[in-house]
Subunit: 162 residues, 2 copies
């Protein structure tokens, strides 16, 4: 990669965009998390896991796949799932085809909690983001972070430093 003296600064517009993104993301995530906690006793991390499981075949997923799909560390998912298990939202199940594996399974209760939480969460995402902004601009956000995610996803050496 380039040396430091070759790295151009961000121009005025880029700087503005970058800071707006930082501040906006901080406020947005904060609020969505807070709403989920207050109304449904769920963190956003827990909510995302419920969503992923509900979309998975058999409502079950290997821990590692789950971790990758939400882009959280395995350790983090282990802890989060443990808390959710204690709350009866998911269960753990040994994987039949791989003795090392563990699957997280959505319980009845987890399904019910998700069904309750989803509409209000979606409403929040709309109210604070989607319905506020131009549709094309929001698609641009999708393109930008698709690109970022692709570039940063596990094992892309092009993104390593120097």
């Amino acid at each position: 990669m380039t040396l430091d003296q070759e790295t151009p600064w961000l121009d005025r517009q880029q700087q503005r965009s970058w800071r707006a993104y930082l501040v906006g993301t901080t406020l947005l995530m904060d609020r969505l998390d807070r709403e989920l906690r207050e109304q449904h006793h769920l963190s956003m991390a827990e909510y995302e896991i419920l969503v992923r499981l509900s979309e998975a075949a058999g409502n079950r997923m290997r821990m590692a796949v789950l971790a990758d799909s939400v882009s959280h560390s395995r350790s983090r998912v282990t802890h989060t799932v443990s808390r959710m298990e204690a709350a009866g939202l998911v269960a753990r199940d040994a994987c039949l085809t791989d003795g090392r594996g563990v699957e997280a399974v959505l319980t009845e209760h987890g399904h019910a909690v998700l069904a309750e939480a989803a509409p209000t969460h979606v409403a929040g995402v709309r109210r604070m983001l989607v319905d506020l902004v131009d549709e094309d601009d929001f698609e641009a956000v999708g393109r930008v972070f698709d690109t970022v995610a692709d570039a940063l996803v596990e094992g892309n050496p092009a993104m390593d430093i120097r």
Copy 2:
């Protein structure tokens, strides 16, 4: 605000954009934070505070103003500044005009650390985001999160639930 049954789901495209944003942001923040920590022993929160102070008149800022400018809670800024103070990056100073107030001041060392960290941090932001995406798309990101931040910034009752 609208009732739940009136809230339409996100359409396919919106859903894709929303998830890309979540995943991309998670990966990006993770990496930027890691780079800053490994190369300069700074968290992103600390880095942002250094930047804000370096731009402030007299390199000093009231705690509350600082907190607002990075959109972090006051408590969080208190803790972060305490750690930075222990590391010699900033100093605390009583506010002359308001007996309740405290000002954070950038030290020589803090200035030096920022001068070292900034180029590599900017390089990271470019490498993993700015240089990867279409310029117009990135401006759209700026518009979107400007709007979000405006809507969510302290004391906008329109964004409250129901």
